[in-house]
Amino acid sequence: MAKTLLIYPEKCLGCRICEMFCSLSHTDTCNPARSRINIIKMDLDVRCVPMVCQQCADPVCEKACPSGAIFRNETTGAMETDLKRCTGCRMCVLACPFGGTGVDPWEATVMRCDLCQGEPLCAEVCPYGAIVYVEADRQALHKKRSGAERFLTSLENQIGKGN
């Protein structure tokens, strides 16, 4: 069973360490504009969401690609681009509902998370567990456990207030 990147926006503190390691490992430079993962911040940076390709089960990028350059890596489950066939038309960029595919500003090629060939650095370096790499069939329970933790904490806070 392939593994998948699971994002917990509520755990993200917005430090951007993931962007640095992503761009460094893929492009040899430190540049958020070339990172496959980006932290999107809103409301004076209070709310942060790590945004990265979700490796959809039924990927729109693959369907949108007129030259059949996008394919699934069966080992990792990542949607990859065959740059030899890619014409750079950017249909995949337009089609993705999450901004999961971007364009590298230096090389003008499309870029998308390749799960670091099965060892995603972003999940390794995230200090707060906002990005985790889990077996796809454990995904739902993983999220439920995180929800349960929050539920308990808030319950404890409520009780705490009464004292």
Binding site: L13, G14, S25
Partner: protein
């Protein structure tokens, strides 16, 4: 691709932009604060008005800024301080520094002053002066939000001054979009005097590295080390982020009011943990940092802001306030107006002591009685200071000038080290911390060694650290309070270097010095910095060379201040530190002035400075390769300006 770093020089008077390489400075000064201070030496004529157009305002990131190196988001800000005329040591974090580095720059030098308010917009290569008349008067947060909308890019990082800086409050801050500020030493007032409201920056060029593979390997290792550190675990579980205010032991280290006493009966009853678990949104921190040492707090849907430990103390114990709601309101106001919380709290504390002693009455302060802990007094003073209204116009000048304006016995009550309200330690019991304060030109970041000294319990000493003191400085005394030993002086000198190394590189010093205390190998994090620096730049310097550059920086900054008239006579401590603590665990303890003077002599001697003047000797400067300073002096083109008082 090679690691290139650019100095961006803008002149607000002539509206010119100039770019040059850091290359001529790299060898001796490494980067960051090292190059920032060299630029200051080169560009600042001695004796000018800190709030005049001749002053320079320099923002420096370093060779590791905006990279995968941990905590690479800090910015050093320097210029001549309007509070004491010495070189300023001020630093802020957040995400501006990394964005600026990713736009391709390491230093921003602002010279001259505009007629009308402007802001600077930096978008990679494009640097523009833009009209800021519509922003003048806005709070720091409003300015940031407005600029992000106006420039139509939510990713833009902004630093801005608020009304405090516009009105040249001598301790105004420069605030970043994430809320962290360069608070100390009035850099916001310098920015205001230049009519520069904000600097917006956006960078997509990225930071190139000489050996990216090696860099990544070391960065990964260093990140893992920090994630597994005790400090990381403490920050993670603590509701208030390992904050000294919240440790029950803290009371033995802190003073209250205007350094009036070592104990405060309300301290133990402060329900800070409950307050923060109720109102805290989450932890926050700077670019690339695993530690995330700050709080984002929002009270009742309105007062939103960010804070760290120092601000808590400034608006609680310093002003005798036990109302946490008032504390938070005060912090938010200081953030919005762009004021240094610490100096603001200090000025209010001084006024409260004057009121308490009958030196002033409510009549002197626009009808507001400056009673200890009075909520209205605290909040109204902040409004008045930032707007320079009524008594605020006097208080905006800082503690020394304000007391002189009030006159009578008021100046006797000022507690200031080189014009600044010191950090609220019980200096009476920590000789090393006191020495570091005395020889500093402003706020010394009391790091590693002096931090150990302050937390060391002589009755139950940490034996591992005592062994470290012996190995590093020759005697256990270095870390133990209650002595004026040479080992302690060596510890202070080493601590000064330990705190400057991260400043040379663009790394947060908290991310190193806070962690050091809990790890067995004191060199580990510094060795990683050396490896990161070498992999980034292609150089191959050693740890010793990096520390040598830190020593060079100390000498360089001392020489800059010497041009402004600084000598040994200015290396004083507030008189109150030589009076015994009246209460608390350390009741009766006091610093011995004569021994402190002898300790200063030892310090100058070990630094290779002249013991009489307390200044670097030409021989020392030559040894460090600072020929230009020696030649400058010989050429006689610098007239030292003697300071009064």
């Amino acid at each position: 691709m090679d690691h290139q770093r650019i100095i961006l020089k803008v002149d607000l008077c002539r509206k010119t932009v100039e770019k040059s390489s850091t290359a001529p400075f790299d060898g001796r000064f490494i980067g960051g604060r090292g190059i920032g201070s060299s630029l200051m030496l080169q560009l600042l004529p001695p004796g000018v008005d800190a709030l005049g157009p001749e002053n320079v305002l320099i923002f420096s990131t370093g060779p590791l800024s905006g990279t995968a190196a941990p905590a690479s988001g800090r910015v050093d800000v320097t210029g001549k301080s309007p509070i004491n005329d010495y070189h300023a040591v001020s630093n802020f974090g957040g995400f501006w520094g990394s964005e600026f580095s990713q736009a391709g720059y390491n230093h921003l030098v602002v010279q001259g002053a505009g007629e009308d308010p402007v802001y600077l917009s930096i978008d990679n290569d494009r640097v523009e002066f833009k009209d800021a008349r519509h922003l003048w008067g806005l709070s720091t947060y409003e300015t940031i939000t407005t600029l992000r909308e106006e420039l139509r890019d939510p990713e833009i990082q902004v630093i801005a001054i608020g009304p405090g800086g516009e009105n040249r409050v001598r301790y105004a801050s420069i605030n970043s979009s994430m809320g962290d500020a360069a608070g100390r030493m009035g850099m916001g007032a310098v920015m205001g005097s230049k009519k520069l409201k904000a600097v917006a920056v956006r960078g997509t060029r990225g930071v190139s590295l000489h050996d990216p593979k090696r860099f990544m390997e070391v960065a990964r290792k260093t990140h893992r080390f920090l994630r597994e550190s005790e400090t990381f675990a403490n920050f993670k579980i603590s509701k208030a982020n390992g904050d000294p205010m919240f440790s029950r032991k803290a009371e033995d280290q802190l003073t209250f009011g205007n350094f009036e006493t070592g104990a405060w009966d309300k301290f133990g009853g402060l329900k800070t943990e409950q307050y923060f678990s109720k109102h805290k949104i989450r932890r926050t921190g700077c670019f690339g940092c695993p530690l995330q040492c700050m709080h984002l707090v929002q009270v009742s849907g309105g007062d939103f802001g960010l804070s760290r430990c120092m601000n808590f103390q400034s608006f609680l114990g310093t002003v005798w306030n036990d109302d946490l709601g008032a504390m938070w309101e005060a912090i938010v106001l200081a953030n919005q107006y762009g004021l240094d919380s610490h100096e603001t709290g200090g000025v209010i504390a001084l006024m409260m002591e004057l009121y308490q002693n009958g030196i002033i009455t409510a009549g002197d302060t626009d009808g507001i009685p400056l009673e200890r802990g009075n909520r209205e007094a605290i909040l109204q003073m902040i409004h008045k200071i930032a707007r320079r209204e009524g008594i605020g116009d006097i208080l905006a000048e800082g503690p020394e000038r304000a007391a002189q304006a009030i006159g009578g016995r008021a100046p006797d009550f000022v507690v200031a080290a080189k014009g600044l309200f010191p950090h609220g330690y019980q200096f009476q019991v920590v000789e090393g911390t006191s020495l570091m304060q005395a020889v500093s030109s402003g706020e010394p970041f009391q790091t590693y060694g002096t931090g150990v000294e302050r937390t060391m319990d002589p009755e139950k000493p940490n034996l591992r650290l005592l062994a470290q003191a012996k190995a590093l400085y020759g005697a256990e005394d270095a870390y133990l309070p209650g002595n004026y030993s040479e080992a302690k002086v060596r510890m202070v000198i080493d601590s000064e270097h330990r705190s400057r190394v991260p400043d040379l590189l663009g790394i947060c010093l908290t991310s190193i010095v806070y962690v050091l205390k809990t790890v067995p190998d004191i060199h580990f994090l510094y060795d990683r910095q050396v490896e990161l620096f070498n992999a980034a730049t292609g150089r191959s310097i050693s740890r010793d060379e990096l520390f040598r550059a830190a020593e060079r920086l100390v000498n360089l900054e001392r020489s800059i201040d010497a041009r402004e008239g600084l000598t040994r006579q200015n290396d004083t401590l507030p008189r109150r530190f030589y009076q015994p603590l009246d209460s608390g665990k350390n009741r009766g303890k006091v610093l011995n002035e004569q021994k402190m003077e002898e300790m200063k002599s030892t310090y100058y001697r070990l630094r290779g400075w002249d013991v009489e003047t307390g200044l670097p000797t030409p021989e020392k400067l030559m040894e460090l390769g600072l020929e230009e300073i020696v030649q400058g002096k010989r050429a006689g083109d610098e007239k030292p300006i003697r300071k009064t008082g």
